[in-house]
Subunit: 568 residues, 2 copies
Amino acid sequence: MEQVKRMKWWGWGEEGVFFNYQDKPAFAPFVKKHLGLDLRPRQVDTIRFDAATVPDSTLPEPLRADLVGATASDRVRVDAHERVVHGHGSSVTELLHVSRFDYGRLPEVVVYPASETEVTEVLAACLAADAVVVPFGGGTNISRSLQLDPAERRPIVSLDLGLLSGVLELDEDSGLARVGAGTLGPELEEALNARGWTLGHFPDSFTHSTVGGWAATRSSGMQSDKYGDIADIVRGMTVVRPGGIVRLRPVPSESTGPSLREMFIGSEGRLGIITDLWLQVHRLPAERVVVAYMYPQWSAAVAAIHAIKDAEVPTTFVRISDANETAFSLSTQKKATSPKKKLARLAQSGLWALMRRRGWDTDAMCISYVCFEGSKADVAERRRRVVKIAKEHGALVLGTGPGALYDQKKFDTPYLRDFLLEQDVLGDVSETAAPWSKLNGVHDAVYAAARRAFDELGKQGFVMCHLSHNYHAGACLYFTFAFQAGQDADREYATVKTAIQQAFVDAGATLSHHHGVGMEHAPWMAQVVSTEGVSVLRTLFEATDPGNNLNPGKIIDPPLSLYDHLER
Amino acid sequence: MEQVKRMKWWGWGEEGVFFNYQDKPAFAPFVKKHLGLDLRPRQVDTIRFDAATVPDSTLPEPLRADLVGATASDRVRVDAHERVVHGHGSSVTELLHVSRFDYGRLPEVVVYPASETEVTEVLAACLAADAVVVPFGGGTNISRSLQLDPAERRPIVSLDLGLLSGVLELDEDSGLARVGAGTLGPELEEALNARGWTLGHFPDSFTHSTVGGWAATRSSGMQSDKYGDIADIVRGMTVVRPGGIVRLRPVPSESTGPSLREMFIGSEGRLGIITDLWLQVHRLPAERVVVAYMYPQWSAAVAAIHAIKDAEVPTTFVRISDANETAFSLSTQKKATSPKKKLARLAQSGLWALMRRRGWDTDAMCISYVCFEGSKADVAERRRRVVKIAKEHGALVLGTGPGALYDQKKFDTPYLRDFLLEQDVLGDVSETAAPWSKLNGVHDAVYAAARRAFDELGKQGFVMCHLSHNYHAGACLYFTFAFQAGQDADREYATVKTAIQQAFVDAGATLSHHHGVGMEHAPWMAQVVSTEGVSVLRTLFEATDPGNNLNPGKIIDPPLSLYDHLER
């Protein structure tokens, strides 16, 4: 079969690519200061996969035969490596274990259907055998939407959609493209760009995640201010279900009862297998710039962003890092080696001096990036308007240099998490959305909750945050936290993560803006959509999947065994 | 109890308000030309309600007692007038009959709960008695979402939400207002305007429809280009269900599984009773103008609108009438009586002369209205950009005079339908949405289908259309049709309406952009969302409402008895 590219079996991204701190002189001191940790040089560059540590597949022969009949023998895989790669997503909890050869429940088999018909037949074979079916996109999900229930006694089939890929149709009059669900981000952009188009959907996971996964987890990309969330972008779709195929034609908007489109978006495999999607695409902009600004403090930056939104300046994204994230970001600057970079660093020192002369507390300052796209004239005009608003809120304009740097590095962050894990540091993210009136309250509440959790664990911990994804009524707050793991990493992680999630909900925010629910956020569903809301979802899942075969335990009613560490 | 204002028992709007053609000299000749009909002067100004024609209510006493216990005796109404007003929506089919004292199935009782708790208790009482519950907003729905099944043997309770009204909370930081579901459009705008805000949602039914009804039918207002469809505007809501109350907190966007918000929007009462909603509200714009343009023909106008959308000029609405609608619109001009109006009419003749000199076919020309809102500077700049695009597409700019006139008359159209009905003319609307690439095809297909239907009936008929509600990927096409009814008006209406709906679906459009499904469009659901899509909705409705008590027969599986006229 054609090769389907998947990530490292034990962590993020491609084999041989790692976060490196040797060329970032301020990074180790930053970690020492905030986590009390001396970084160790990496021991090995690759964690060797040892098939011997993986139990053999117990796939029943009749099911194997049916799956081969539905697809082809080389597309029905029971080898250890395939099963481990498809046995987890990319949550810290999962990677913590898998990177230590503790795989948890693995699927019995990985199947690669190559057409809608094959998906239909694979699904039918699985249901006939009462097997569990878990659709697999890129494996990047961090909300445990892919984790399997250790107590599951039925065969589990991982249905990898990697062969359903590519741009299938492009309606240039309408700005609509039909795309295979298994298409990876870069593959999609390359195909669209070649014809002058872009989807504009760039989640942090972009390089390794798929279109189907974006839809199934209700994701949002960094540029959602311009291009919309995936729920806005997906205009039609095909979903293979046990009872038949749902085909939703692409229309700009419609009045056809409860939205089926919005039912399948975010369904995380529980309502069927998404095989292709109609997506809104846009002409590549003539010009694109990212401009950086520095604000004296968080409240000024938030007020500025809100003012930019209220003024209806069309931006592609607007993002501010709080003081901690700004400091972190500066700690990852590379050593200036080229004359050009040395000059930039010199300018930066000058800037620091200027800010101090203005009476800024440089520990409080917040960096902001704003992206503009359009014609040269539009970009210039919008940039002028934002500069005016930024200055009114006390900002210094840093220009496009740092902006370009941010743009280059934007997909690198997930590698850092694996690096930290290797250093026995649990680092993870938790993000939410709230109305504008509640954003500062959510920010403060999360910091307080994380501090209390760190104290409870007797740990030195770190939290940082950025605001991104702006809407008329509010925005997303994206938190990153880290601390040294001890003997009971699962419980420690759960303590901190739980404290942050609970702070979201108590402060009027939601459980996640764009990472999905999975099993990680399922315990907060009733608090966010109410008990009766959960009951409606339960009724929907049970009635449309009476055998509970479709990615069970996700979104609501997760298997309690996975929350053991919370009870200890 | 407090008075809840509802429309005429037999037609649109307020008692004593009618469409009048005496002051419109071109109207009667227009009708004569296109429908072959000589208009008759109106016989009576009011159709007298005769309670004696209404069968007595057969509400079971125990249910009556429970409803009184849940609310109050003066809010449980069984009188004939209340039951007739609540026994239908505003579809032509319904009004055709009710205005002739043929009421169809009526509810046994109309209840006015005044709080969420009362709604809960009313619902519980109804379910305990195995009664059917039909929520009632303003009664303006034209898709037969309120029509009752003649074969229904259980008691039917009309649950009027009129007492759940008003702006309950206003979060000015976030631009979010919590509003009672029974709030009428004008009442809402008045309350918001007084505090400097607007919802900006203006469906044609605005003056008599309610917020809850807008959400329950997935409506869209004329200004959706700026303010969004109701599905964008509603950020949170409360829904009283048999099993409890669903509370969805207002957040700008979230990643919480299948969207419950989007499940209740468009649910037409089948999933529960919406009692209040969190809505996005906007600051009143400093300036608002509507500018009119005349295009030489439809294709040029559509291309111009698409270009305006592509250029990302922020507009509040953009609308074009096709040649027939433009001609109709001119036929409803009032006699020029004031010197100012005479001058305007003179200018108009000059314009006509100019167009003829340019070689325009004045029978092909299309009028367009574009609305701009914002600061004085923003409005001026946007207007300049649109003028440029319009001229590039051959348009003449008519200025703000006709625009202001359009703006004044925009809520008057529904009265025309009743006037025509009185003249034994069936006039109705059918609207859809499609990708840009299919709009011209849909337009042509609908004209052809309507002509074929008129021919089949041996009638002279008229069709006209406008384009409105623009999106990245397409727009809405809104058709109006009329013809003289014969002996079998139901069948004749169904013949034409069916032909138009089928043309939508065959040409790649959807069954309705913003009028909901009800029973009128239900027969096309499977063609638009596929058979399996309907099956998912059926499973959802059956599983969450096993007794089939919540507004049954709407959206899918309508009672076949109501389609008898199609079989004849």
